[in-house]
């Protein structure tokens, strides 16, 4: 597959259909890391395998990357879902983007070049049933706690937060150029990483991710002190899908629950 991926990338670069391909290269130890391929000869460095875990969609909203205009991105499942969400939030121009992703056949690479293509591909590839992972185990543990225990659990977790904002920086959906935590007039959230400041930051983060987080786990992966942020956002996502009765497809393409308003909403407080 890496061969097909390289060939497609090469094709797009040599035909000058794109200025840059966002993909992966070999990293330190056995890891891989994000990499940018501008010239045909760069493609040699490209790798693509199960180790390619970074969610590259994070780069699509960055000003300096958008300035390149037409680009291609190599997308794993997580990246694909983020792209659909970014499209639904009008953050990506489809005519500027080629998405390269592995197809179902061995060694096959699929090129998606329009919103419709991307959406229908993602909808087809959403697994109906997902194997429980370590985050689910943690969520199950937290769900068994009383309200007070839960509050204590998260306070203890967030007391460790050093406020490096790696979770925010790694998240494709955290694309605001000015984050509310950095507002100084008024200052909504204390800058100091004490428990109050940290709790406020994380509650705001979870709320702003509600209905938007695609559960890719980039935040938890990035956290240098191993706070399992995904346990929080996963529950937020699950709750929203349950409460609003949304399929995964509807969830990904739907509007942000925090900023949507329906005049005929069932809840009276909102009217």
């Amino acid at each position: 597959m890496i061969k097909a991926m390289k060939n497609k990338s090469l094709e797009l670069l040599t035909s000058q259909e794109v200025r840059v391909v966002i993909g992966y290269e070999k990293g330190t130890k056995c890891s891989t890391r994000p990499s940018f391929f501008f010239l045909p000869e760069d493609i040699e460095r490209m790798v693509f395998d199960e180790e390619c875990k970074n969610n590259l969609a994070v780069y699509l909203t960055k000003e300096n990357i958008k300035n390149y205009g037409r680009l291609a991105i190599i997308a794993n499942d997580k990246t694909l879902q983020s792209i659909v969400k970014l499209i639904s939030e009008n953050q990506i121009r489809e005519d500027n983007l080629f998405v390269l992703t592995p197809g179902s056949e061995d060694g096959q690479v699929i090129v998606l070049n329009s919103i419709e293509e991307i959406k229908s591909f993602v909808n087809k590839s959403i697994p109906s049933q997902k194997e429980p992972d370590s985050v689910d185990e943690l969520v199950a543990r937290i769900r068994k706690m009383s309200r007070e225990e839960r509050w204590k659990y998260w306070q203890d977790e967030f007391a460790r937060c050093i406020r490096c904002y790696a979770c925010r920086a790694a998240c494709p959906l955290c694309y605001c150029t000015r984050c509310t935590v950095e507002s100084s007039q008024p200052q909504w959230v204390p800058v100091a990483s004490h428990v109050l400041g940290n709790m406020e930051w994380h509650i705001i983060r979870a709320m702003h991710m509600s209905g938007r987080c695609t559960d890719c786990g980039a935040c938890a992966e990035a956290c240098p002190v191993n706070i399992n942020l995904q346990a929080l956002t996963r529950v937020v996502r699950e709750s929203i899908q349950d409460e609003f009765n949304l399929t995964t497809e509807e969830y990904l393409e739907g509007n942000n629950v925090l900023s949507s308003f329906k005049p005929n909403d069932n809840e009276t407080f909102i009217r």
């Binding site: 990293g27 990357i65 406020r163």
Partner: protein, 339 residues
């Protein structure tokens, strides 16, 4: 520089030394396993201490330069503003046990930094009340490069005592400072003569990649190079690398006000953030990530050597290990040297 005294200590006596220090009413911070990481935390039982690790996730700098600390508090009254200064006497005596030589050396750099022009009383008091017991490294990984930035796996710089595991039978103890010698005097029955242990035989082999002078010379020529843009294009602009670094010490001063009273707080800050050095006008002299990345590298290997005669990096490799997008600083420095 006082001369270094050397001793030997058996594993059993080393444990006794730990409990002796606890008895002296000192809080001991040492590497322990928490949340799938090795981190510095308060320790009261010797067996909790983790020794089999390359480097802790974050450096212990927070013990002397905390994530946030109150500098003073104030109250506005009828007769003006009343200021209550932070009382350095409230700082406890602590021991940092089991830190690596690159972290101990980091404290020396921080000391120069916090005494460069203004003498920072809070920092100095914390450091004075800290006993630093370093442990030499007998293993390293591909992220380590202390030997390229003036350090080595058995470096005594910054430690009060440096302990080197010399086989199964015991440890070599080097008392580097008066504080370190004091620890030995207070428990002298635990120590034996060092009978010429050859420390070098027990140290990790960290290859030298470059010299600090060579790097500085090169960096001074590449300020305008494209390389900063090429290297930083994948950087996400977070604060992980700087916050876990033993030396990064940029801070932000914040007032937390509640009506007529408040506190002035010093909080960690990072050159990776887009708001770093942004002026009140909205202008930022470092507009993009490439300029911010250049600042990080230049500050460490060019500006700090010029201003405080210390290299702003001890080669601990943490920034590379922690970076979510594998910005490996050693790789980047090597490619700058090659450019």
């Amino acid at each position: 520089m006082p001369t270094v005294e050397t001793y030997k200590i058996s594993p059993v006596s080393l444990e006794k030394l730990f409990y002796q220090l606890l008895k002296e009413d000192r809080k001991i911070y040492a590497p322990v396993r928490r949340n799938d990481q090795v981190v510095f935390d308060l320790v009261t039982r010797y067996e909790e201490i983790c020794t089999d690790f390359i480097q802790t996730a974050a450096s212990p700098k927070n013990l002397i330069f905390p994530r946030y600390e109150n500098l003073f508090s104030y109250k506005k009254g009828k007769d003006g503003v009343e200021i209550q200064q932070f009382n350095p006497d409230s700082i406890p005596e602590i021991v940092i046990w089991g830190l690596r030589p690159c972290d101990a050396a980091g404290f020396k750099v921080l000391k120069s930094l916090f005494n460069w022009d203004y003498k920072d009383e809070i920092f100095n008091t914390r450091l004075n009340k800290t006993t630093i017991i370093g442990f030499s490294c007998n293993q390293c990984d591909e992220y380590c490069f202390c030997t390229s930035v003036g350090g080595n796996p058995g470096n005594t710089t910054g430690s009060d005592l440096l302990i080197t595991k010399a086989g199964e039978a015991g440890y070599l103890v080097e008392a580097v400072t008066e504080k370190g010698k004091g620890v030995i005097e207070r428990s002298d029955s635990l120590f034996e003569s060092s009978d010429n242990i050859r420390k070098e035989e027990f140290l990790a082999d960290v290859p030298v990649m470059f010299t600090p002078d060579l790097l500085k010379e090169k960096l001074e020529k590449v300020f305008e190079s494209e390389i900063w843009q090429q290297q930083s294009i994948r950087c996400l602009g977070c604060g992980a690398c700087t916050y876990i670094c033993p030396i990064c010490a940029c801070f932000d001063i914040q007032d937390e006000a509640h009506g007529k009273k408040g506190t002035r707080i010093r909080c960690w800050d990072s050159c990776g953030f887009s708001l770093f050095t942004q002026h009140a006008s909205g202008h930022n002299p470092r507009m993009n990530q490439a300029q911010r990345w250049r600042q990080r590298v230049m500050h460490k290997y060019v500006y700090m050597p010029e201003r405080i005669h210390e290299i702003g990096c001890t080669g601990c490799g943490r920034c590379s290990r922690a970076c979510p997008v594998d910005m490996n600083i050693l790789d980047h420095l090597k490619s700058i040297l090659k450019s």
